[in-house]
Symmetry: C2
Subunit: 304 residues, 2 copies
Amino acid sequence: MNVLIVGAGAIGAFYGALLAKAGAGVSVTCRSDYDYVKRHGFLIDSDMLGSWSFIPRQVLRHSSDLQGTADFVILCTKVLPELDRVALIRDAVTAQTAIVFIQNGIAIEQEIQNAFPDHDIISGLAFICCNRVHPGHIHHLAYGRLTLGDVSGTLSEKTLQLSVAFNRAGIECIASENIITDRWQKCIWNAPFNPLSVLSGGLPTLDILTTQEALVRHIMQDVFNIAKASGHTLPNSIIDDNIASTYAMQPYKTSMLLDYELGQTMEIEAIVGNALRAALEVKVDCPYLATVYALMKLRELKLR
Amino acid sequence: MNVLIVGAGAIGAFYGALLAKAGAGVSVTCRSDYDYVKRHGFLIDSDMLGSWSFIPRQVLRHSSDLQGTADFVILCTKVLPELDRVALIRDAVTAQTAIVFIQNGIAIEQEIQNAFPDHDIISGLAFICCNRVHPGHIHHLAYGRLTLGDVSGTLSEKTLQLSVAFNRAGIECIASENIITDRWQKCIWNAPFNPLSVLSGGLPTLDILTTQEALVRHIMQDVFNIAKASGHTLPNSIIDDNIASTYAMQPYKTSMLLDYELGQTMEIEAIVGNALRAALEVKVDCPYLATVYALMKLRELKLR
């Protein structure tokens, strides 16, 4: 099983390292850490699974440099308007390649489906707390569960194969038949906590929740309503469940806050903007989410 | 005509200096700049009215130190939950004293009315751009119009007398019979632009308006709806008028943004919180204003 990880940041390197552990031949593309990783590979430092060295088969600047073919191309970059996801992978996709993305956001499938209408396309969601500490040094702090599902809605051989490999490497990986619904489910948490952590000026999730639970619930309800109107009815208890589990979590810095603090582009469009565009299509009013989105756009404008 | 200005910051010093110019005997209380002002008085540096020195009759640490009596006690502090406005003025109020406040916010009358049920109480609104540059040095950049109105709703002699003095000093001062409605009218502008300037990370008003006009309008509409349900119907054109005049303004740093940048307490409760509490009373839904309020509370929490 040959795998190409496109975008070996914290998430890409971690899941790539797991597949290598499970016996796959794993190559990676890197941008900023290319020189270091080419020479030294990765050190994966997991609080749950121990530490190990991950030396990719090939370390590439771009997927077009790949020698041989990949059974799986796994895209792990952020989802940003200025990043052409299709261009990042196109040159490494052959007839038998399954295309996987482990990425955040809502409605991020169509772009890939349009470009590769005849391929297996597997949409992946990671529930993980994982940081790049230094070039080539990845710290996995907690969680790690992965959900994979074919965008076609029926589970493919490829998805099952990948799922087995991740489970073998020690990480729970669920093969889902409703990955789009799963994305909305994740958005219930992401849509409030990612923007609020930035707009509050850097508060951890627990402070946000203890002082402004009502606002968090309103934003979650907006997302719930959009999902429902879009044909993805989530469990009735999902808001209460997310509130309860966030109270139980360690105070947590969201990925958007980390990006913000590093001056990097945030996934505002993938997580919030796409949800709002879905709301427009199904004509659902979502004032809380819309306000948060507008404010994040102002923050982004100020950053530039 | 003897006047005591309580809280001679930029606004208090400027309007006090105008009354002195018009012939009144003006004393002041100062907090942080007491030592400097006691020795040197104020330099008023107005782009509209020229520069002049304002030497108060008495410079006091507290209103209880006043020698003699005041015809007018004019309160010019910010309106903050931790600031007891009644305690600040009580000792300087005699039977014939009219109590004036030139302050921002909604529903800030009751506290003073309860404490002084038998006095003339005059509510004042300043439309001004005026900064304290250094101790004792006040820079008046633009505008300056004042609206004064008795909270009783009928114009008193005292209000007319004060209004004449301000006009004589070169500043437009309107005596209004609907000062509560005027406060809601001012809130239409304050409620969006003050918080958004902070939440955006410091954008001037024009950037906010050009990129997020829809959000600004939504917040204005929330305020319009609360005012209407509270019995203060504003002109139908007020939102369009505010949008148009803000486009025509120089890019402007709001008072809340200035406070935020100086690490000082912001008037969140007086401007936004009180409007929301009014909404609760009259059962008006205002999701945009509520979101902005919750986010400002998070910012405030982070600042502490």
